[in-house]
Amino acid sequence: MTCSIHDVAIIGGGASKVFGEQFGKSADDLLFEACFEALDDAGVGVEEIQAGWIGIAYPFTGLSGATMADPIKLYDIPITHTENYCCSGMDAFRNACLAVASGMYDMVMACGVEKITDQGGRGLPGLGQQHPVIFRGITAPSAFGLAFERHRKEFGLTREDLAHVAVKNHANGAAHPRAHFRREVTLEQVIKAPSISGPLGLLDCCPISDGAAALVITRKDIARKYRDDFVTVRALALSVYSNWLPFQPDFDYLAWRPTVKAAEQAYRQAGIEDPLREIDLAEVHDCFTITEILNIEDLGFCRKGEGGRFVREGRANVDGDVAINPSGGLKCFGHPIGATGCRMVFEVMRQLQGRAEGKQREGAKTGMAHNLGGLGGTVCGIAILSSEDRFK
């Protein structure tokens, strides 16, 4: 039969019981929790899964599809390990959806995991291509934080604007039972926290967390046999730019180019013309507060340069114009790299089903997951999901 991505449905989702410093758990433990929760949520037996994709960024977490196979004994089927920086989980989901859309498989699973706290050191362990001296000194927060001075100069972005993002996301995360940070913070606390990189203080940065998430994916026509409230895919975009952002004279640090390009793809696929009116909620990649401000602009929820005000005025709150990170985002869940994309899709699925575990966006029908990777925006994956297209 001829399929498209619009025939793809998610019928089950799961995640590790809690995100955070899971010193007592291995990557296998986290995957066990996430994958079986997803399978049980779908009512699908592990033996029904025909193919798998697993997002992992760090070799120390695990390599190859066997990292997914072993903890749930999913042997003898094709399983692919996807790596695309912080977008590894979203790319696992995307490939799983494409496989179903291709007609090759009927029932597949996408998952992602990262076990970061087995490592030492401060911040994220090194990731990505390395040269002994060229590009030395860059860190995750500085790679994104380099946008601040440009935005300040061009648009008057302020330190307070950044802090408002943390306050909003902490308020959301405080309500989520799986979040790493489950406490609210004040503007003053955010601003007074010690600097990690430039204007980005401790509370502007997502924490170092372990976690896993998993999704069971099938075709719409099959989904109906398992549940009525499945959600469907409206868009699956991926855009890859360069590993060498600070060496690209055309890169202006005003927008994360892969987000802009992926959003163009996604809105075209979904037929969305006015994202602010047509999208109810978005889990966006807020690895750092400044990243979320650029994301909001890059995704077209407001004009370039107005992202700070958009958050400050409460338009990104759960009951605002569009709920940005109703789960609390990376800010509160941390960023177990390979897991994040799948965690976002899982959250969006629950929101669209009206069974969000944290704050629920009332009447959510269309939701977005936005996953950004690389040192300042090398790769971006976007999924748009819907609860309205089930019976189309």
Binding site: P132, R136, I138, S142, F148, I196, G198, P246, F247, P249
Partner: protein
């Protein structure tokens, strides 16, 4: 006619006041400062900067030799002259040699270069010396030693600004100061009074007088006496004994007030300073340097000195300075306190492959559309021309496009200022910023590039370029 064709010097930006040292230990302090290499500087990075200042305006392809001298070279086995020559973009067949062990390594190198130029074996030989000696805390040496580098370009022909007249050399077997090869990181001495009077004063005076006699010079006929000394007091003691008049400007300042004793680098720095300070055609200059013996060289200034375009040497470096207000930081830079090692990644294979990008900082210029970029890649990012580039030397100045002060990168000192810089040739490059006051960094500020130690991952020194706020000098 062989002689000196150009000069350059480098004094690090940080100056530690002797008062800060004295307060730190509760001991009496002398006035003035000592120059301190920043944590990303060593003898070879400073020698590189002095050499770059020296060859400014000269075609790198004309460099016939690079001689590096230091008793504090970062390697016991590994040529640094080859590194300096590579950074300078000297041709492959330029003669490279390293001079070490003796504090007279620099004058040894200078004599070697002058001989090579005089016999016509080589022209445009860069002689450069850098020094970062470590004194034992709470000794007078701690307030005496300073860091710095000097460079002279030696050659023959019309461009000679100071003609080489001849030399005189004396040996002196004595335990003055020493560091044992295996055991010592810090300077050792036994009886300073004996060493100063029986070593430096006696032998240096005899050598200077011997040189003047051999070359038919009287003390009055010497326009500038450039003689080094192990310390400030000793320097003051011998001028009269040689027949020089320090009050008449005949004696070149030994730089102890603000720089300190720079060992091997001292004679080259003092000579560079002399050449930028009022010498005129026909002036005779004596350059004398003592360390377990003395080398005395005589030069006569030519009319070409006035034609040499201005360049950065001691004067401009003295103007670019910043107080180092902490003895603890000084000790950390000197390796006298335990600092966390930066567990960074290194591959001698990758660095070797990218030699021309890492050291002389070459980029690619598209032959079709002119796009200049770094690192070198094979497809033009603007017009997609394939394998149609010319390798070019990137501009050494530019403007900050954006920056951040990062506290996460495991550096010797925080914050690490990271900058995205638009170079004057249009290339954009990511660099760490050094020798800056964080609060003064801003978008669009003008910066210049400086060659620094980036990290010591995998047990070897990784050098590359950083940027720093643009300085004056050499205009």
């Amino acid at each position: 006619m062989a002689g000196i064709k150009s000069f350059g010097a480098y004094v690090p930006w940080l100056r530690l006041s002797r008062e800060v040292i004295a307060k730190g230990w509760g001991i009496p302090g002398a006035p003035g400062t000592v120059a301190v290499a920043n944590f990303d500087e060593d003898s070879v990075t400073m020698a590189v900067e002095a050499a770059l200042n020296c060859v400014e305006g000269f075609d790198p392809a004309s460099i016939g030799g690079v001689l590096f001298a230091s008793t504090t070279a970062p390697y016991a086995e590994k040529s640094l002259a080859s590194l300096v020559a590579t950074v300078l973009d000297a041709p492959e067949n330029a003669h490279t040699a390293d001079f070490a062990v003796s504090l007279r390594a620099s004058t040894s190198a200078l004599l070697t270069a002058l001989d090579a130029a005089a016999c016509g074996r080589a022209d445009n030989i860069v002689v450069t010396a850098g020094e970062t000696r470590v004194a034992e805390p709470i000794t007078p040496w701690e307030q005496t030693l300073g860091d710095g580098a000097g460079a002279l370009l030696v050659g023959e022909g019309e461009g000679v600004i100071a003609e080489y007249l001849g030399f005189h050399s004396l040996k002196d077997e004595i335990m003055f100061t020493w560091r044992r090869a295996e055991e010592d990181h810090m300077l050792r001495e036994f009886n300073a009074r004996m060493a100063q009077s029986m070593g430096y004063e006696k032998v240096m005076v005899r050598a200077i007088k011997g040189a003047m006699k051999e070359l038919g010079l009287s003390p009055e006929s010497v326009a500038r006496a450039v003689f080094t000394a192990p310390d400030f007091r000793s320097h003051g003691r011998i001028a009269a004994k040689c027949g020089f008049n320090p009050t008449a400007g005949q004696v070149q300042d030994a730089l102890f007030a603000f720089v300190g004793g720079t060992g091997t680098a001292q004679p080259l720095m003092m000579m560079a300073h002399a050449l930028e300070s009022g010498l005129k055609e026909g002036d005779v200059v004596l350059l004398a340097h003592y360390a377990d013996g003395a080398d005395v060289l005589a030069f006569k200034v030519t009319g070409a000195l006035a034609q040499l375009p201005p360049r950065r040497a001691v004067n401009s470096c003295l103007a670019a300075q910043h107080p180092l207000d902490s003895l603890a930081r000084f000790m950390r830079y000197r390796g006298l306190t335990v600092i966390p090692t930066l567990d960074d990644f290194g591959s001698p294979v990758q660095t070797w492959r990218d030699n021309s990008q890492v050291y002389p900082l070459h980029g690619a210029k598209c032959n079709k559309c002119g796009f200049v970029r770094f690192p070198i890649d094979r497809v033009c990012g603007r017009c997609r021309a394939r394998d149609d580039n010319t390798e070019v030397r990137l501009a050494r100045r530019g403007r900050v496009f954006t920056f951040i002060h990062d506290n996460l990168y495991p550096a010797v000192e925080l914050p690490t200022t990271l900058a995205v810089v638009d170079l004057e040739d249009g290339a954009r490059i990511f660099l760490q910023m050094t020798d800056r006051v964080p609060d003064e960094v801003e978008v669009d500020m003008e910066v210049e590039l400086t060659f620094r130690l980036i990290h010591k991952g995998d047990e070897w020194n990784h050098y590359f370029w950083k940027c720093r706020p643009a300085r004056r000098g050499g205009e």
